[in-house]
Assembly symmetry: C2
């Protein structure tokens, strides 16, 4: 991998490429091209080639990209050769839906526990997970050396929960609460808020 | 608004600015600065000023931005001065969670119906919504002139459902199914797949 820092916007597209390649493989495809990937993804083929060129030369003149080979390379780049354990904090509608999301398997992640602070939820089942008391979070995160947390609590509790998670050792947060979390520099946050996506699209509607 | 096309990556950040300003207003703040917004958002103040400069001059020397005024301007830019009706297709875990998401109100959107094709779900309640038969979708979308749909069906049905929605008049899709939808040029798609976000973050973990 080159020492030069790859723009974050490029990194953000790599998982999309990986998802498309995986779908191609499921469809029995062995080779593809930047043109074909462009059609799948609605991203220009020049952009795809430029993005991938940050990480070396993958395509072969004439045959294009090996679907399996490029997936393997992208998994290496994205640190997905291991399986990452995740904790979910918040056992409400969103947390429960995410805990049962079938899309984690074979993509590098495994939900290993769900936490809540509501005595009525603690001990109940969310899919295959028994909801744990959020007070047990710090010990659990430390014991299992967990770095990733998904936060799905109400907006007004999200910062407090994030602070607790970070103090326990979490360094990457996928935040479903519709608030901007304030975190130390070593922690990364990505936000999932459907309204942000909807508002982005209404810009183009009239 | 200037005739020059604003880069989509800039448009994508405007809803984040709007969300931060709204939180500031709830906290009683009347004025803010690009520096303060930068601290809230983890985006550089230069980037924020540059993004906003695409749409004119908003700040005042000395007082900075009016929190209410800048929100109003962003709502105009993002076409949020009206309320957009949305349909949700898929009444499973994710669809149900999204239908009950409290974050739509006062942000420009109103869920007006939930559809599914499962006879066991049709007629049942998802929060305040009675699940409708997906066969009724085309008529409903046309009758209520709906442009936005959220698709929360299994991956293998998503393309079929998208085709039906688009044929009915939908032009913007928020897609929760973990597949790339193939759509005509006049249709916009945004994807919500937690794994894409998690894989983006693991790039930075080691």
């Amino acid at each position: 991998m080159p020492a030069k820092r790859v723009p974050d916007i490029v990194v953000a597209r790599l998982p999309l490429y990986l998802r498309a390649l995986s779908a191609m493989q499921n469809g029995g495809k062995e080779f593809t091209s930047s043109q074909e990937m462009a059609q799948w993804l609605g991203i220009s083929s020049a952009q795809i080639r430029k993005d991938l060129s940050h990480f070396g030369e993958f395509g072969k003149q004439g045959t294009g990209y090996s679907v399996a080979g490029l997936q393997e390379k992208l998994r290496q780049i994205l640190n997905l050769e291991r399986e990452w354990p995740i904790v979910i904090i918040g056992a409400g509608n969103i947390g429960s839906a995410v805990a049962n999301y079938p899309g984690f398997a074979h993509r590098g992640f495994r939900v290993c526990a769900v936490f809540d602070n509501d005595p009525k939820k603690i001990g109940s089942m969310v899919g295959i997970y028994e909801v744990c008391d959020v007070h047990q979070l710090p010990e659990f995160v430390r014991e299992h050396d967990i770095r990733l947390a998904m936060i799905a609590v109400p907006a007004e509790s999200a910062q407090e929960v994030a602070d607790l998670a970070i103090a326990s050792g979490i360094t990457a947060i996928l935040n479903y609460a519709p608030v901007n979390l304030i975190v130390p520099e070593h922690v990364r946050v990505e936000n999932i808020d459907p309204v942000l996506h909807l508002q982005h699209m209404t810009y183009y509607l009239s």
